[in-house]
């Protein structure tokens, strides 16, 4: 018997609204369609009415999880236009390193969030609660550094808005020690647990060829064996100064996506330690005045926790920009969902959709 099974826009397995139509033959999904736009807030349109400093505040509100990545991408894009007109324009190194530290702390809390949700969906609630307990330690440190648990307000055009004191740096290192021990335990539990393996191995397969064809990005692509990582392929904000690797896993299923994120946590911890140990002395920004941005255009890519985030800005030399284009990793990974769903059971649909670590608020802007 064939049915069309609707999932969403509101569904317990989804933190945010999206609508999927599953075409089924009995329990098996034969095809699927995805519809987006339920969280559209017109942020790109609004950005045309604001100056460059006001826009940092606006773009941070695109997403509550990866807000720093949005502010960073916007700042890098604006700085790119300014550097094209004035090649001597450069962000102070200390400001760059603080941006990196915030980016990696954000990646850590985002990956812990996703691992917790995945565990909850597969019914492993005790480990879900342990994972989120440790995520709180990261949130506490983010609050200590920035004053906020989300929407940190740490980025400005030309650097960072707040410094990291020696005392805070010591607290970050202490937190990293705790998180590292837990993450290693988590890795061993996830990779060795039969329940996790039964619910995730061979589920929601996205082959390397399909990932390439559709253009998946970030941990989702790396879990399909595609070695892409903007931090290494096109370094920004001083990432070229740090030693770390791409976490690629070839299994192409939900299990592979779990493995990649757990391993990336280890790399993020290493990057933060390197940044804190080698934090350069000097200013953190180039002043707080509203920048005068010349006419031009620039596009930047940032490795947000969920993958490649792209910002493009067009300016005409005025107080406001003329066009801001924001495209988030979910916009590039969501088209892979129908391919992953085909041939799987309806019961796994929630897990498969969640496995791309979707952020529909981001995607809809």
């Amino acid at each position: 018997m064939s049915y069309i099974v609707p999932i969403g826009p509101y569904h317990p397995a989804l933190e945010e609204p999206v609508h999927a139509k599953l075409y089924t033959d009995g329990e098996q999904i034969t095809d699927a369609e995805v519809f987006i736009g339920y969280n559209h807030r017109g942020i790109e349109k609004l950005s045309q009415q604001k100056n460059f400093i006001q826009n940092i505040v606006l773009v941070e509100r695109v997403c509550g999880i990866c807000s720093h990545s949005h502010a960073l991408a916007f700042a890098l894009c604006t700085e790119g236009i300014m550097a094209a007109a004035n090649p001597a324009y450069a962000v102070p190194k200390r400001g760059q390193y603080i941006r990196v530290i915030m980016s990696e702390l954000e990646r850590l809390h985002s990956h812990f969030l996703w691992i917790g949700i995945a565990l909850h969906i597969i019914g492993h609630d005790s480990l879900f609660m342990h994972t989120w307990d440790y995520r709180e330690k990261i949130m506490d440190i983010l609050e200590e550094i920035s004053g906020n648990r989300v929407n940190y307000g740490m980025v400005t055009i030309g650097g960072s808005r707040r410094d990291i004191s020696a005392e805070t740096a010591a607290n970050v290192n202490k937190m990293l020690d705790d998180i590292e021990i837990f993450n290693l335990k988590l890795r061993d539990m996830l990779l060795g647990d039969t329940t996790v393996a039964l619910r995730t191995k061979g589920v929601g397969v996205l082959t390397t060829a399909d990932s390439d064809r559709i253009g998946a990005v970030g941990p989702h692509a790396r879990a399909s064996g595609v070695p892409v990582d903007v931090r290494i392929d096109a370094p920004y904000s001083g990432y070229e100064d740090f030693e770390f690797g791409k976490c690629v896993y070839p299994d192409c299923d939900v299990f592979s996506r779990v493995v990649v994120r757990v391993l990336e946590n280890i790399e993020s911890i290493n990057i933060i330690r390197q940044a804190l140990d080698n934090l350069p002395k000097g200013p953190i920004n180039k002043g707080v005045a509203i920048p005068k941005v010349p006419a031009g255009e620039y596009m930047v890519r940032v490795e947000a926790p969920r993958g490649q985030l792209t910002y493009k800005i067009n300016t005409d030399g005025g107080e406001c920009l003329t066009r801001l284009s924001i495209h988030v990793p979910t916009f590039k990974n969501a088209p892979t969902v129908p391919t992953m769903l085909r041939g799987n059971s309806v019961a796994d649909a929630g897990l498969i959709i969640a496995s791309i670590d979707p952020c529909f608020s981001c995607m809809d802007r």
């Binding site: 790109e44 890098l76 559709i214 253009g215 067009n314 969501a334 088209p335």
Partner: protein, 132 residues
């Protein structure tokens, strides 16, 4: 600083360029579009080549060929989004279902990126019975 290079192309060069890029396994980072203050359309195909972005840009054309048969859903979603947000059309893309804007908006409606802000605010404050 990431490298960004703009290359102007004509409408006829869009498909051959996409085919060449696909054959070299070049990632299409995104398709960007905007309508400038003079009403001129500007569409850029952003390819990632060796860590740099090569932005192949077409200006002044509102109807363009689709590259969805070359870059699949990665291009289709970008093209559909552009079609729904501004007055630019990609030939051959299915517009019978909305990707981004509400289903109730017919083709040609909902181009919020080119609608003046005053009109959008006025529309937002209309009562349900006043909505067209």
């Amino acid at each position: 600083m990431q490298e960004y290079k703009k290359i102007m192309i004509s409408k006829d060069e869009i498909v051959p360029t996409a085919k060449e890029m696909r054959s070299k396994n070049v990632h299409l980072a995104m398709i960007h579009a905007f309508i400038d203050k003079t009403g001129k359309a500007n569409v850029s195909y952003e390819y990632e080549i060796g860590g740099a972005i090569h932005s192949y840009t077409v200006e002044g054309e509102n109807v363009l060929p689709s590259i969805t048969d070359i870059y699949d859903l990665g291009a289709e979603w970008a093209e559909r989004e552009i079609m729904e947000l501004m007055d630019i059309t990609f030939e051959g893309v299915d517009t019978s279902k909305r990707l981004f804007m509400p289903d109730s908006m017919l083709s040609g409606q909902g181009h919020i990126l080119v609608t003046p802000m005053d009109e959008l605010i006025e529309e937002t404050h209309k009562k349900p019975e006043e909505l067209s």
